[in-house]
Symmetry: C2
Subunit: 339 residues, 2 copies
């Protein structure tokens, strides 16, 4: 690659000092009109653009915000990024995305790369590996130094920082209530392992709704799916229990869609024999047959809120207290539940 043109080279070309060139390019009246014009024309011809690294080093500001997420091929997370991008760009920031791949080690690595001058702040959703191991020192170090830091979706109580969360409990509760209202008596829950914070919260919402309706919570009806194993086989077990459930609440779209497929394979009709609701942020639910009633998560809004919190934190003059924003869900009723 040809080396880019710098102030120094232009200065040499004209036999003037670097500061003269800098000022000339900024249109300063300190520099004579003739020279100023010549320098500008020259710089323009050679397509001069100030080097970002130098600017950032000098100003101690990168105008970049870092995002660390567990996965990127995931409708919810990519929607959140979109929201972050949207808000950040409007405020003059760029976004640097890193993927932890659900691994604690990779997450720590990403932190080290990003939080050493490369970005002005960090927006993070925890890797499964991190939640599982409960090792948060890499985060606590940043928070202690008051590094601008926002967590979203997969957060953890013991870290004090700005947070944005989905109202997982409320969403699951509303969904469960809807199933109860439409006549379901035995509602199965397709959840994740308990260390995934959102899985746990959704389970609590499910339980809350059952309690409020006077239903008993049966552990047999709660299935903890392991994402690293075959989904189909695990979900099939729901349909092999001695007393079949008449409804399923799934904590994500793919679980719900799989449940729907299996139900139909087994000859059950949806929603008559079994109703299904999934949490979702993607498109799958719209195109299944019947389309799935689902708890919508509004990832874009979440991303915007996270970016807003972070940029406020970055640009704050006075220290401010930490906020937790809660994004409420909405229940999109389609055809996989009775009316």
């Amino acid at each position: 690659m040809k080396t880019r043109i710098t102030l120094k080279k232009i200065a040499n070309e004209f036999g003037v000092s670097i500061s003269t060139v800098s000022k000339a390019l900024k249109g300063s009246h300190e520099i004579g009109e003739e020279l100023r014009g010549k320098i500008q024309a020259f710089a323009n011809y050679y397509n001069y653009k100030p080097n970002n690294l130098a600017l950032q080093l000098r100003s101690q500001k990168t105008s970049v915000i870092g995002v660390v997420i567990p996965e990127i091929v995931h409708h919810f997370f990519s929607t959140v990024i979109d929201g972050i991008e949207h808000y950040a760009n409007n405020k003059g920031y760029n976004v640097m995305v890193c993927v932890s791949n659900e691994s604690y080690e990779k997450e720590v690595l990403n932190f080290n790369v990003l939080a050493n001058g490369s970005v002005d702040g960090l927006i993070v959703s925890l890797a499964r590996g991190t939640q599982e191991s409960r090792k948060y020192d890499h985060i606590k170090g940043l928070v202690k130094d008051e590094f601008p830091f926002v967590m979203f979706d997969r957060v953890v109580d013991e870290i004090e920082c700005d947070k944005v969360i989905i109202d997982d409990m409320g969403g699951a509760c509303k969904a469960t209530e809807h199933l109860i209202e439409t006549g379901s008596k035995r509602i199965a829950l397709l959840s994740t392992k308990d260390f995934v914070s959102v899985g746990l919260l959704r389970k609590e919402g499910y339980i809350k709704a059952l309690y409020q309706a006077g239903y008993t919570v049966e552990d047999d009806l709660i299935y903890k799916i392991d994402d690293s194993k075959n989904l189909y086989d695990q979900i099939k077990k729901v349909f092999e229990s001695p007393i079949m459930p008449d409804a399923i609440l799934a904590v994500n779209e793919v679980y719900a869609a799989n449940a729907l497929i299996i139900a139909k394979e087994k000859g059950y009709s949806v929603p008559e024999d079994i109703a299904i609701i999934g949490f979702t942020s993607g498109l799958i639910s719209e195109f299944t047959s019947p389309p799935l009633t689902s708890v919508r998560q509004h990832g874009f809004l979440m991303g915007e809120q996270a970016a807003e919190l972070l940029i406020n934190r970055i640009e704050q003059k006075e220290p401010q207290g930490f906020k937790t924003e809660i994004i409420s869900t909405s229940l999109k009723i389609r055809k996989s539940t009775k009316s």
Copy 2:
């Protein structure tokens, strides 16, 4: 935010020079054992990490690669990013993602931010707005300066650089052939406006297969969908033509899934009355009913290849010629086509 500790501060603390501290932290034997140990302990205690911007400015290398894509909430593009991330991380690079939102102006803006020292190279898929306007000066400038630059998927012939493309023509051709082999006589094509390069290529593949089979190409069977308008209404027209087609090839997953929904609404059975194939990289096709036969695009591989080309270009000693890698598709046969 508390200011991070620097070499200078440590140097002051010990009353030594900055270079001494730098050497001590690197474990140099130039520095006496005792002092070296003390400095290391001190730095460690205050969690010293060298400032990336300073390192990058000095070494003239960022180890970051920039990616500019039209959308991020898009299964194909996020899969490509995943592939880029994967390869780049293995080679010690990080990834900075920017979204052009299909807009030419935003794309140019992203280029200006990224290609001024912030990244060592750029991987780009063109915005629709850019393809439509045919304004490529922002790219040509970079290429002229031999800035490491790779295009993928939405490329353009007149720019000479490394490229990675899907075998769109081959994929569409294979899909069309499959429809012909399974008895379809009137095959409709759901394509995009012609300025989208991949839409055009897929149309050519479709036409090629028809020619080879001795079919005539009927313009009435080619529908150019406008993404900015209502998809459902546009696709419905396919089913309102005087002579109904008996098969549909859609250039993406969402068109195909919509076609399937509409076909069923109109009382046609799939694949008996009408067979459907879509291009895809997402999950929708798996969960429709019947699941959609589709042309798989292998975005992850594409991302890996793009990253490989770029990093080779960045690290090249001798100038090399430009390469174009072609990622072949595979036809995943499901239930929306006859056997």
